[in-house]
Symmetry: D2
Subunit: 219 residues, 4 copies
Amino acid sequence: MRMIKYGLVGASGRMGLEIESLMQEAGNKAVLKYDKSGLWQEGTPEVLIDFSSPETLEKTLHLAREMNSPLVIGTTGYTDEQLSMINEVSQKIPAVLSYNYSVGIQMLLKCVEFLSDNLADWDIEITETHHRFKKDKPSGTALMLRNAIGKDVGIHSLRIGNIAGEHSVSFGGLGEVLTLTHSATSRRTFAEGVLKAVNFIVQKEFGLYSFKDVLFQNN
Amino acid sequence: MRMIKYGLVGASGRMGLEIESLMQEAGNKAVLKYDKSGLWQEGTPEVLIDFSSPETLEKTLHLAREMNSPLVIGTTGYTDEQLSMINEVSQKIPAVLSYNYSVGIQMLLKCVEFLSDNLADWDIEITETHHRFKKDKPSGTALMLRNAIGKDVGIHSLRIGNIAGEHSVSFGGLGEVLTLTHSATSRRTFAEGVLKAVNFIVQKEFGLYSFKDVLFQNN
Amino acid sequence: MRMIKYGLVGASGRMGLEIESLMQEAGNKAVLKYDKSGLWQEGTPEVLIDFSSPETLEKTLHLAREMNSPLVIGTTGYTDEQLSMINEVSQKIPAVLSYNYSVGIQMLLKCVEFLSDNLADWDIEITETHHRFKKDKPSGTALMLRNAIGKDVGIHSLRIGNIAGEHSVSFGGLGEVLTLTHSATSRRTFAEGVLKAVNFIVQKEFGLYSFKDVLFQNN
Amino acid sequence: MRMIKYGLVGASGRMGLEIESLMQEAGNKAVLKYDKSGLWQEGTPEVLIDFSSPETLEKTLHLAREMNSPLVIGTTGYTDEQLSMINEVSQKIPAVLSYNYSVGIQMLLKCVEFLSDNLADWDIEITETHHRFKKDKPSGTALMLRNAIGKDVGIHSLRIGNIAGEHSVSFGGLGEVLTLTHSATSRRTFAEGVLKAVNFIVQKEFGLYSFKDVLFQNN
C-alpha cells in the first residue's frame, strides 16, 4: 500500500498516540498535528483523523474544508447539532464516523444478527465484563448487541479488576448452547480499525460512512 | 403444523428412542417401525427416518421405493457404493442425508466461514472437548470446522469426563480475540434437527439435500 | 469394595432411578424399595437412601430405627421441625444430609473460600446459567457460593435452553483474572456423590454429617 | 505502609519501568538505579530489585553485599552456578527469587494442587493461549501447572493474536466439569507481585524465599 500523508487532531491523547504509532509502522507520514499545545503542520494531509473531544469539532471541520481532506472521526459525545454539522460537511468531503473501530466487535455484531434471525426460538443473554472503574452499565457495545438481536434480552454487567472489555452473547436451545465472546486486549485494535478507515476513505468522493461500511462495503 | 405419519428404521436405538419421543411430542404418529426384532406396520408413512446401521440400507431403500416415502437419513459409515445408491434413489424420492443434525453446529459453521473470509490475517485455532471414551481424534465436527475455515489450522482435542461434545473456534487479532463455542448438552438437539428435516422433505418432489439445505434454503 | 445391601426411599423418582442404576453398576444390591406404589423388601439394608419428598420422612425414620440402618438423605424442603427429627435420630443412627451431592461443587466451594481469603482486594462476581424453566433466581448453589465468599458480591442469573447447571466465580485483580467454572452435565454426578456418602456412612457409629464431611473428613 | 527506599537493577527495561511506576504510586522512593547507561545512586536502598539479565548478577550481588540490601530477583535464565551464588549470598542477605510474580498464578497452582489431590479419578487437561510471537511451547507456567498436578496430563498450546497469557486447567468427572482459568491482562500484575515481595523481604534476616513463601508463609 502506498504512503499516506495524514493529519491527527488529538495527537497527544491516549488513542492519538496509539494511532500515531500504528500509522508510522504502516509507512504513513504525519504532516499535521493538533492538540492542546496548538497546531503543527508541514504539508497538506490526504486524510484528517480526529480522536479528541467534541469542543474541537469546529476546528477539525474548518481544517478539513480548507484543505479538502477526507475525515476519520472517533471522538464520542457530540451533540445532535454537531452530528448534523458532520453530516453536512460530508456531502462535499467524505467522512467515516464511528464510536467503535474494533473489527472484532463489528464481526460479532454480524454473527449475532445472523444467529438471532435464524434461531428465533432460542433464548439469548448478553454478558459484558469491564474494569471496576467503568461507571456506565450496561456498556454502549452491549446496547449495540441488544439492538442487533432486536429483542429485549437480559444484559449482565460484571465489573472486576482492570479488564479492557469483554462481551459475550449466549444462545441457548434445547440440547445445545452457542456462545460468542469478544475480548479487547489492547487499545491497538482500535488503531488498526482507524487504519482501515483511512485506506477506505481516501478513495471516496464524498458521503458519510460507518465503520461497518468500511469493513463490508464492496468498493 | 399438521400431523405427519412417519416410519422409523432403527427404532430401538438410542437416537431412535430420542426421535420417537420428540416426534410424538410434536403430534406426529409412527405407522412403521423396523429394528432387530423385525417390522411393525399399520399404515403408509409420509416420511421414513433411518438412524440405524449401514447394513440396513437396502431394506430402507426398498421400503422407501415401495411406499414412495421421502427419506431422512442420519446413519453414518456408508460405503461409497451405498452413498451412490442413496443418490440414485433420491432422483425419484426426496432425501435428506447428514452426519450432524444439530442446528447449532450448522450455525457455528456459517459464522466460522464468515469470519474466516473477513479476518484473513487473524490466527485461528480449534479446540474440541469430548468424553474420555471417544476414540477418534480430532472429532468429525472439528474437521468440518477446519474445512469451513479453508486453511490448515491447529485442532486441540481434550478428552475428559463424559462431556457430550464441545467445539470452540478462536480467532486472534492484534488486540482482540473472538471465540465461538458450541456445546451439545443432550441427544435431544439432534432429534430436533431430524424434525426440521422431516418438515422440509415432505414438501419436496425429489433430490438429495443436506441438513444445511434444510436450514438455509428458501422454499 | 465389598457389596452393600441398600434400601431406597423414592425409588421410582428421577434421582431414585439414577441412584439405582449406579448402585447396581457398583455391585451393590437393593433389598428394600419404597415409593408411591408401596413397600418391597427382601432383606435388611445396611444403609437407607432417601431422595423423595418431605412427607415421607416419618416413614424413612421409622424404617431406619427399626432396622438400625444408617441414612443418606438428599430430599429437600424439610421444615425446621423435620430437620430436628433427623438430628435427633442421628444421635443413635449415623446420617449424611446434603442438598447437593456433587463432588465438583464441593471442590468449587473449597477453592472459592481459599481464594476469597487470599485475594481480599480483588473484585468478585458470580454467574449461574440454568435452563429456561428454572424459576428461582439466584440458584441455591449460587447462594452457597456467595456464603463461601463471605461478602455481598453480585450474582448474575442466565436462563437459556435446557442447561443442567453452570456456576462461575470470577476474581478480578489489577492485571489478571481468575475464573472458576463448574458445569453439571448429567444427574449421574449426584448419584456418584450418593455412592460416596453410602461408603462413608456405613463405617460410622452415629452422628449427623454433611457431604463436605464425606469428602474431606479423614476417617 | 511506610515508605521504602529501593534500588532497581534493570531500571530501563519493560518490567523495570512497570515496577518503577508502581513503586512510586505506592509511595516508595528510588535511591539507586542501574542499567546499560550505568549507575545512579543517592542513598542506601532497603531492598534491591533485579529484573535485568543473567550477566548483571555479579554487579547485583556485589551491590547487595556492600549495602546489606535484601534482594527481590525476577530475572530468568540463570545458570546453575549463578543460582548457587544467589543461594550462598542469601545465607546472609534475605532474597526472594521467582520466575513468576503473578499472585493469580500462585493461587491457581494452589487450587490445582488441591483439586488434583481430591479428584484422583478425574481427567485433567491443560490449555495455554499466548500471542503468536511466543516461541516456546508449552509455556513455563503450563509446565509448573503440570508439575502441580503431578501426573503426565496433556498440554494444548494455542498461539493467536497478541494475548498476554491465558492458562486453563479442566478437570472432568462423570457428569461434571470444573475449569480454572487465569488471564494476565497486563504486566502491571507482575509489578504488584514484586511490591508484595518487597514488603515481605524487608522484614527478614536472611534466607532464600520463593514467591509462594511471600504469599502463604505466616510471618
